[in-house]
């Protein structure tokens, strides 16, 4: 009897201990005590050694109440916090001190750099983004043509919180090609590769009046180490993306004097072969293999079906070749190896690379660059031939 009593009291004591100690109370926080970050932006401050931090925080309490009350449309669904500081964490703690909620970084959708900061160099600010437990490596990066603050504080017509908009925008682009979405780890990998030039998508706000502004992507920002040195246009970006292969859904516009057609890229793969000819000369062969369907046709009324397919085939090949070549020329003008050819040499010919790495930029500029294309058109959509062709034949 005594034994059972003793056992029972020990059991009770242990239960109590478990209840008291296993709750993890130090780190426990209610969700409403958090400011959930949806986007962060970094601009150059007036003093070039300092940065201007903009944090976009979703306004949870607002959204909660708006489900009951009719929305006035005027409500702010997000709040913007600003700080000027020489390090990111100092700025963030400044914001935290002057605030009743703590910032939570887990759900940050996008990180933006203002174009001035990008030109000034971003490497020293990446440390915190890598080190902090809450900061995540898969968050996409982008450069803003203008100030990141403006983009984060704008209210877009389709999605009031621009951070969420940008997050899903890059998510969609990543379905076309994963190289549109530049994550922190991709950027770091490029920086660590000697000779390779990191890239980041560049976006800007249209010059419309307030509340009608939209976000457009204007190309890719090209970096040398961590400093932005130039930018690719949208067409050149397309060439860059194609040259990396693994493109799924994308459009290709071909036209000549007979007509115009939009082809859907179903699958585009690109094999690259980088061969150093000697210590000064490198040859690059890209072989693109693409599968298309016909998306839209205008004109081509004089051609028969099989002729047309062959004709489109030829046009598509030329178009791909030209687009990729244009991207290469743009990279050459910037003296930036955005394609990562140097990585290929470093990986497959490490001994040659040791001799080349000191003057890689000169070697890159006169690379022998060849593109071969193989195209097949696998379908014509719901139509066999276009309306215009039908009329002509009759």
């Amino acid at each position: 009897m005594y034994n059972r009593c003793k056992r029972f009291s020990i059991f009770l004591f242990m239960m109590l201990m478990i209840i008291l100690t296993f709750t993890g109370c130090w780190d426990s926080r209610e969700i409403l005590d958090y400011n959930i970050l949806t986007g962060s932006g970094f601009d150059l401050a007036d003093d070039p050694e300092q940065i201007y931090i903009t944090l976009q925080v979703a306004n949870i309490t607002q959204q909660e109440s708006s489900s009951n009350e009719p929305s006035t449309g005027d409500n702010n669904q997000f709040v913007i916090f600003n700080a000027v500081s020489d390090t990111i964490l100092k700025g963030i703690s400044e914001i935290n001190i002057n605030n009743n909620h703590k910032l939570m970084f887990h759900h940050n959708q996008i990180r933006l750099f203002g174009i001035d900061l990008a030109k000034h160099g971003v490497k020293k600010y990446l440390d915190m983004l890598l080190r902090d437990q809450q900061a995540r490596l898969e968050v996409p990066f982008a450069v803003v043509d203008g100030r990141a603050e403006d983009l984060l504080s704008v209210k877009l017509p389709t999605e009031p919180i621009s951070g969420l908009f940008l997050g899903s925008m890059f998510e969609d682009l990543a379905k076309t090609s994963m190289h549109y979405k530049v994550r922190l780890i991709d950027f770091i990998n490029r920086i660590l590769d000697e000779g390779a030039a990191p890239v980041m998508p560049i976006i800007k706000l249209t010059d419309a009046e307030e509340d009608k502004k939209e976000v457009i992507m204007t190309g890719m920002a090209v970096f040398n180490d961590d400093k932005m040195i130039g930018q690719l246009t949208l067409d050149e970006t397309l060439g860059y993306i194609w040259s990396l292969g693994n493109v799924n859904t994308c459009h290709l516009e071909v036209s000549d004097e007979f007509g115009k057609s939009i082809l859907n890229i179903i699958d585009l793969s690109c094999k690259r072969k980088v061969t150093p000819l000697d210590d000064e000369k490198v040859e690059v062969n890209l072989s693109v293999d693409a599968v298309f369907t016909v998306g839209e046709l205008q004109g081509f009324t004089d051609m028969k079906n099989d002729e047309l397919i062959k004709h489109l085939d030829k046009l598509a090949q030329e178009q791909i070749k030209e687009t990729i070549n244009n991207a290469f020329i743009a990279a050459k003008n910037l003296e930036a190896d955005i394609f990562g050819f140097c990585t290929a040499i470093h990986q497959y010919y490490p001994k040659k690379w040791d001799k080349m790495k000191d003057h890689w930029n000169e070697i890159f500029v006169d690379i022998d660059f060849n593109v071969e294309t193989k195209v097949s058109i696998s379908g014509t959509g719901q139509l066999v031939q276009s309306l215009e062709m039908e009329e002509k034949m009759e």
Binding site: L137, I188, A344
Partner: protein, 374 residues
């Protein structure tokens, strides 16, 4: 004299070895900082070096199937010298337990509970461990086979999750680093964790009678199962993180953070966290059990149950004194630790075998059923 009366089967012994090695998948940053994207090379070399090492442990087990390591020492070196060596080993076991307890605390701090004091995690972990130890080896190793399977499944599953991001070019270039780096990291991987298998010699008498052939089989199967997981984990991390792998303290965690399969299967690092916690609690339990048995053996007592809690408390307070931060830990693990460990994991066992052979002490020479060869 047998301290712990419980017996475990050979299969369970094998899974315990495998599981013990799995738990070191957390510590790959010791390697990745040195050999970077080629860290899988030292692992393979380590496994090859381990084959004679494990044969050595297996030989001790076969020569003295009814004695634990300390009894073997007393038999081979005599009581006084044997006890002195045993004291060193007790220090080694204690340090090993304390290191793993600290790893456990650091890990949880690293994955999210930043503000909670270190002590809370270590106390929770050690309490569970002590509870298991008091119930004997059977309880300590009971879940090893189930957990080893779970670990296999988790590693396989995570491999599928990251399959869309794997880039095989990340393994290149090969053999570009100075030879010394390969030697250093091979030494590290051979000592931590493969050499640590020496702790399993402490419970030889608790394993059911095995023929030498079976002993060999269980040791090597356990080693193979553990090494495969270790290798796969490192290969996975390299193929995902590429040239940035040396930046991170927990490459496995970072890799799983990158998982993105649609909008549903992402942020899967919690799987890794669960696996690691399971592994580390098991490892700590096993090590505290071994320390307890070792101390009981040192003082010739069978009342090890009363010792367990004291040792647990000692480990809790010993662990924060080992090093003050993660950088110190990594530096220590890369430079001093493997060299000190060599003493306990290679030199003493080897010396013991040689002396035992010279003095012809093998137990089976005395027993009438000595047909099988060593």
């Amino acid at each position: 004299m047998r301290i712990d009366k419980s017996k475990i089967s050979g299969t369970r012994f094998m899974f315990s070895i495998a599981f013990y090695l799995h738990s070191s998948a957390l510590l790959t940053s010791f390697l990745s900082g040195i050999t970077k994207q080629e860290s899988w090379i030292p692992i393979i070399m380590g496994v090859i070096l381990c084959i004679p090492l494990v044969y050595m442990y297996r030989t001790i087990m076969v020569m003295f199937p009814d004695k634990n390591l300390f009894q073997v020492f007393e038999e081979v070196y005599g009581v006084v010298l044997g006890k002195i060596i045993s004291v060193f080993y007790v220090c080694y076991f204690l340090t090993l337990s304390a290191l793993n307890v600290t790893d456990f605390g650091d890990f949880i701090k690293n994955i999210g509970m930043v503000e909670t004091p270190h002590m809370v995690f270590t106390i929770c972990c050690v309490l569970v461990a002590v509870w298991a130890v008091r119930n004997g080896l059977k309880v300590v190793t009971r879940y090893s086979s189930a957990f080893a399977f779970i670990e296999f499944i988790i590693v396989g599953f995570t491999l599928i999750l990251v399959i869309n991001q794997i880039n095989f070019n990340n393994f290149l270039p090969l053999f570009t680093q100075p030879l010394m780096k390969y030697i250093q990291s091979t030494h590290i991987i051979t000592m931590i964790p493969f050499g640590e298998l020496v702790v399993f010699l402490m419970f030889t008498p608790c394993v059911e009678k095995m023929t030498p052939k079976q002993t060999t089989k269980y040791w090597y199967k356990g080693l193979a199962m553990g090494a495969i997981v270790l290798l796969v984990v490192v290969l996975r991390d390299i193929s995902i993180l590429g040239n940035a792998i040396h930046l991170f303290t927990l490459p496995g965690l970072v890799t799983l953070r990158l998982v993105q399969m649609g909008n549903v299967l992402n942020r899967m690092e919690i799987i890794f966290a669960i696996a690691v916690m399971m592994l580390l609690v098991f490892k700590v339990t096993l090590l505290i059990y071994i320390t307890t048995i070792a101390i009981a053996q040192l003082f010739n007592t069978t009342q090890y149950k009363y010792l367990a809690l004291i040792i647990g408390v000692f480990v809790i307070f010993y662990s924060p004194t080992l090093y003050s931060n993660a950088i110190e830990h990594v530096t220590y693990a890369r430079t001093i630790e493997p060299i000190i460990w060599t003493l306990f994991q290679i030199i003493f066992p080897l010396l013991t075998i040689i002396l035992a052979k010279i003095r012809n002490l093998s137990e089976k020479n005395k027993s009438p059923v000595s047909i099988q060869e060593v």
